[in-house]
């Protein structure tokens, strides 16, 4: 039996007993699902028009690869998304990246359809049937909301997540409306499947349990006291059946044929670690732990997320909750709980409104119900005359048009090509059969290599996997016939953590004419500690090679194009004092700029780095506080700018920025390390000591700060006290990175005449500079100088310092 809904109720209510006239019903309104379906179809077309055309930025390139090859993505793996997106990769139109984006657009449209259907269901009582126009008013506004639009036009999982959340609420509402327990159990099953799309959905378990066990519908109150136990058991069973979608991670990782195998989930232990995101579990609840940030972050969040419509919607939100309290009590509690859970969990990460989609959806639901109540009241008091109804419709249409205009203005679908055009020349410029060792930031290159098959002769090696094989699988050397991986005498492969690995890796590949390339210099810090002295020279020789053609192109042309387009965009939006408030810009912007800045920094062009970031911040972070930039990104930009100013010798200006950063994030030890550096450079000994002391208090395990504090103590205070910290820092190093310790302690020994330190049998004795370097034909000679020490260029700047001597 089809559900009785507001619209069918409206269709039946000619001469309704309550005496409420239905108003001018249209034939289309008598079909409960037709209107949401039509609006969803329109939204799908609109989203596709503005969908990112290629692999996009952030997680987009990764999801392109993982959906094509059914790979294991970053935690928690996203198996449901990959399986569904895979189907769309077979559409014989467009590129693979665009096809996956089309899938997210359709998921956004499905969310809209479910939103309308749910509204329809929640207004099922004929006595409370609102005017259909009011019921439908919120649908286009929801579809055009900035977060909903953004998540439906980029290659991400969030629109599907919203669709699943609404589906679960719909199932729950059907069960509560007395449509049978099958809705509850199928909801449980789908909840399991939905958690395979984004594990954050599991956060809403309390909400869904609340919906399940509070306010049991009358027809289900049969079966004795044990019925709850049986129901819970069955629900758990169905949920686990749906959740078994995560088996994909286990099975696919075991095949050992994946371009991307995050977490290396081929054992149960690693599988669980990956699914539960154990390695980052501490940061999951950062927002709750750092509660004091809320006062600072909340206004920024609020400004980024809420448009003026928010204030208009407040009374309707309250009205909607009141309506729910009378008709659907449990949902009146569940929706605010859902909003709170979502906001408190995610407020710390202001890198996109998509994270707040559940809260935004719940908010819109309540607001829509409030609007429905307004319509009902207008009907009951007979003030909803045709003219008034037309006025309301015009207001809604105008709002929708204005929102659509904003979305169109913000949208820059063409920019979706930029990641491809940034990285393609890099990959294309690689010499034949070279090896590219890269980190997660190079996901666009991974997408180009595997989804686009750009350079099959080039071997991509993910450094994270190379150094942490427990975190990410590196395809076995046998699967990489084009690169040489060191082998022991017994035929087993050497671990990258073994001291000889990189030395032999370089020697083996370079001597056979292959050339090894690294992502920009942050990797110096990650790789250097593992290199033997001779190999370090080879490594630096490679680093000096001018291979980043793509970044050069970006620096020369794309960057200016990029800034010009976004300045024009800002001009359009801001348009003087009366312009509409600035909203979040497309996410690609800061990735491009930050990549350029990092590239300049890593090449020692500190003044240019500072200027680039200064121009960027001036353009996008306005003094009036209105900003396009997500908060974390803003702070990252300021931190890199401060560091580059420091390296360029502009300590005074660097100090101003770092002091502000330390004020904003008083719990970030790295801020105090930088502060210590700058004070020291300015000759402010006591201030430097105080800053470093605070850094040590915050993170006593960060050897960089401990050692720097030791050095500062030696310089400004007592050598005896300094020795303790230097020993402590060295001990930490020794525990964590034995080889890194060797370099740092050698350097400290030079500085402070500490007793000689035995690096152990694994470490080769320091060689004369260049002694072990025998470059392959055509390779440059060993450089005389290494890059300067900097907190921004990785955890271990000390290795390069040793080389400089």
């Amino acid at each position: 039996m089809p559900p009785k809904t507001a619209l069918t109720a409206c269709a039946e209510s000619d001469g309704a007993p309550s005496g409420q006239a239905c108003g001018p019903c249209l034939p289309v309104l008598s079909r409960p699902y037709l209107v949401p379906a039509l609006l969803a179809a329109a939204a799908a077309f609109f989203y596709i028009l503005f969908a990112s055309p290629a692999i996009g930025w952030r997680d987009g390139p990764e999801f392109t690869v993982t959906s094509v090859f059914l790979d294991v993505g970053h935690p928690s793996g996203f198996p449901t998304y990959n399986l569904l997106a895979k189907i769309f990769t077979w559409i014989p139109l467009g590129s693979i990246g665009f096809r996956v984006t089309v899938f997210t657009a359709l998921a956004g449209a499905a969310a809209l359809f479910l939103f309308g259907s749910l509204l329809n269901l929640l207004h099922a009582s004929p006595a409370r049937a609102p005017a259909p126009l009011f019921l439908l008013a919120s649908l286009p506004l929801f579809a055009l909301d900035q977060a909903v639009f953004a998540s439906s036009t980029e290659l991400e999982v969030y629109s599907l997540n919203t669709a699943f959340l609404l589906l679960l609420l719909y199932c729950s509402a059907r069960w509560h409306s007395g449509h049978g327990i099958s809705w509850l159990y199928s909801g449980g099953f789908l909840y399991g499947v939905a958690c395979g799309n984004h594990a954050a959905l599991s956060l809403y378990l309390p909400v869904l349990l609340l919906l399940t066990y509070w306010g049991e519908p009358e027809p289900e109150k049969v079966g004795g006291p044990h019925r709850h136990l049986i129901r819970t058991g069955l629900l758990a069973l169905f949920f686990l059946a749906g959740l078994s979608v995560y088996l994909l991670l286990l099975v696919r990782s075991m095949t050992d044929r994946l371009p991307v195998d995050f977490g290396r989930t081929d054992t149960l232990a690693r599988f669980w670690s990956h699914v539960s995101d154990a390695k980052d579990s501490e940061t999951h609840f950062k927002g709750l732990i750092k509660f004091e940030d809320l006062t600072y972050l909340a206004p920024i969040q609020f400004r980024n997320l809420c448009s003026p419509l928010f204030f208009l919607s407040l009374p309707f939100f309250a009205w909607g909750l009141r309506y729910l309290w009378k008709t659907f009590q449990i949902l009146a509690v569940a929706l605010p709980v859902l909003i709170l859970v979502n906001v408190f969990f995610f407020y710390y990460w202001i890198d996109g409104s998509s994270a707040f989609l559940p809260a935004i959806t719940a908010w819109f639901l309540a607001v829509s119900l409030g609007l429905g109540e307004a319509g009902r009241l207008a009907q009951a008091r007979q003030i909803l005359r045709p003219a008034a109804a037309a006025l309301c419709a015009a207001a809604v249409t105008l709002s929708a048009v204005l929102m659509a205009r904003d979305r169109v203005a913000e949208s820059d679908a063409e920019s979706g090509f930029q990641s491809t055009e940034l990285y393609f020349p890099d990959l294309a410029a690689m010499p034949p059969e070279s090896i590219a060792v890269h980190d997660n930031g190079w996901f666009p290159m991974l997408a180009l290599q595997y989804a686009y098959s750009a350079r099959p002769d080039v071997t991509l090696v993910l450094l994270t996997g190379l150094l942490n094989p427990e975190l990410m699988a590196v395809p076995e050397p046998g699967k990489m016939p084009l690169a040489y991986f060191p082998v022991r005498e017994d035929g087993t492969y050497l671990s990258p953590r073994e001291p000889a690995f990189f030395n032999r890796f370089f020697t083996g590949n370079l001597s056979s004419g292959k050339r090894v390339f690294f992502q920009y210099g942050s990797l110096v810090g990650m790789v250097m500690p593992y290199l033997e002295p001779g190999a370090r020279y080879m490594f630096l020789g490679e680093m000096k090679m001018d291979h980043l053609a793509g970044l050069r192109a970006l620096e020369d042309g794309l960057y200016d194009d990029f800034v010009a387009r976004n300045e024009a965009y800002w001009g359009r939006l801001a348009g003087g004092a009366d312009g509409p408030p600035a909203r979040k810009a497309p996410t690609y912007m800061y990735y491009v700029i930050f990549t350029v800045a990092q590239y300049l920094f890593d090449n020692g062009r500190y003044r240019e780095t500072a200027d680039t970031l200064g121009r960027f911040l001036e353009t996008f972070a306005r003094p009036d506080g209105r900003t396009f930039l997500p908060y974390d990104v803003l702070l990252n930009c300021y931190a890199l700018r401060a560091d580059s100013l420091r390296m360029a010798g502009d300590h005074r200006q660097a100090l101003d920025i770092i002091l502000e950063l330390a004020r904003i994030r008083p719990y970030y030890a790295s801020n105090f390390l930088m502060l210590g550096y700058v004070h020291e450079a300015l000759g402010n000994g006591p201030e430097s000591l105080a800053a470093l002391k605070r850094g040590v208090e915050l993170d006593p395990l960060d050897y960089r700060i401990v050692l720097r504090y030791g050095l500062a103590l030696a310089k400004y205070s007592s050598l005896a006290e300094a020795t303790g910290f230097l020993a402590q820092g060295s001990a930490t190093l020794e525990e964590n990175r034995q080889h890194e310790a060797a370099a740092v302690v050698t350097r400290l020994r030079d500085c402070l005449l500490l007793p000689p330190w035995d690096p152990g049998p694994d470490i080769a004795p320091p060689a004369e500079p260049g002694a072990a370097y025998s470059p392959a034909p055509g390779l440059p000679a060993a450089p005389a100088e290494a890059g300067p020490e900097s907190p921004s260029s990785g955890k271990s700047p000390s290795g390069s310092g040793t080389l400089a001597r």
């Binding site: 008598s30 399986l83 077979w90 590129s95 059946a241």
Partner: protein
């Protein structure tokens, strides 16, 4: 107040099969694909015009970028076909003009764009093979240098051609099994729950189980297909 009642259109009565849900779903899917195809064509032809204009001004590198973009909006019968041909021609002309690096980049773009447009089939195999050959030439020359003997060059070219011809390798059949199996077991699971619990509660357990038999079988078969697909894809 009178209300208009929904009446089926007269033409629907003449073709009752149009009322069936599968037919409507199929029609919706075709409509959607038609929309996508038109959208692709508009985008592809715009990029193609831009690329042609750039090529006419002698800006070959920029033209190659826009031919590549045009191919990004690939459709089997659209402007993107012309873009593929013109990108190949651009590569040829660059090579003839002695710009081997530019030619190699153009052919790499052509190859990447075609591979990114692959589905169950690889579009424009003729141009793909042409691009593979030119890329292999280019890499062999770069690898061996200008003074290489012709025999060495030929051998090296053959080696690179083998690498490029072999990629990308996809067992799409198994991927289809994995994705299709997933859809089947998910829908089968939901249907089985509905069939079982929607049945009259007074019915014996076995009768209710019988009611859910078909979707349950779908669930099990889909699950098995899914596992097999994932294991062998």
């Amino acid at each position: 107040m009178s209300r208009l009642s929904p009446k089926p259109a007269a033409w629907l009565n003449t073709a009752p099969w149009l009322k069936s849900r599968p037919v409507r779903a199929l029609a919706s899917a075709l409509l959607f694909l038609a929309f996508l195809a038109v959208f692709m064509e508009v985008k592809a032809s715009r990029e193609l015009s831009l690329a042609d204009a750039l090529a006419a001004r002698g800006l070959s590198a920029d033209a190659a970028v826009h031919y590549f973009r045009s191919l990004n909006w690939y459709s089997p019968l659209g402007s993107s076909q012309n873009a593929a041909g013109r990108l190949a021609a651009l590569g040829d002309s660059l090579e003839a003009a002695g710009d081997r690096e530019g030619a190699c980049l153009a052919f790499l773009r052509l190859r990447s764009a075609l591979c990114a447009a692959r589905s169950f089939y690889m579009p424009r195999r003729d141009l793909l093979e042409l691009a593979n050959g030119r890329i292999a030439d280019c890499l062999a020359r770069e690898r061996l240098g200008p003074a290489a003997a012709p025999e060495d060059l030929r051998r090296e070219r053959g080696r690179f051609l083998a690498i490029y011809s072999a990629a990308p390798v996809m067992n799409e059949g198994w991927y289809l099994a994995a994705a299709g199996g997933f859809l089947i077991w998910t829908l089968g699971g939901v249907l089985a729950v509905f069939r079982f619990f929607k049945a009259e509660p007074s019915l014996p357990f076995t009768r209710r189980l019988h009611a859910a038999r078909a979707p349950s079988i779908c669930f099990a078969a889909g699950y098995a297909l899914w596992i097999l697909g994932m294991a062998f894809a």
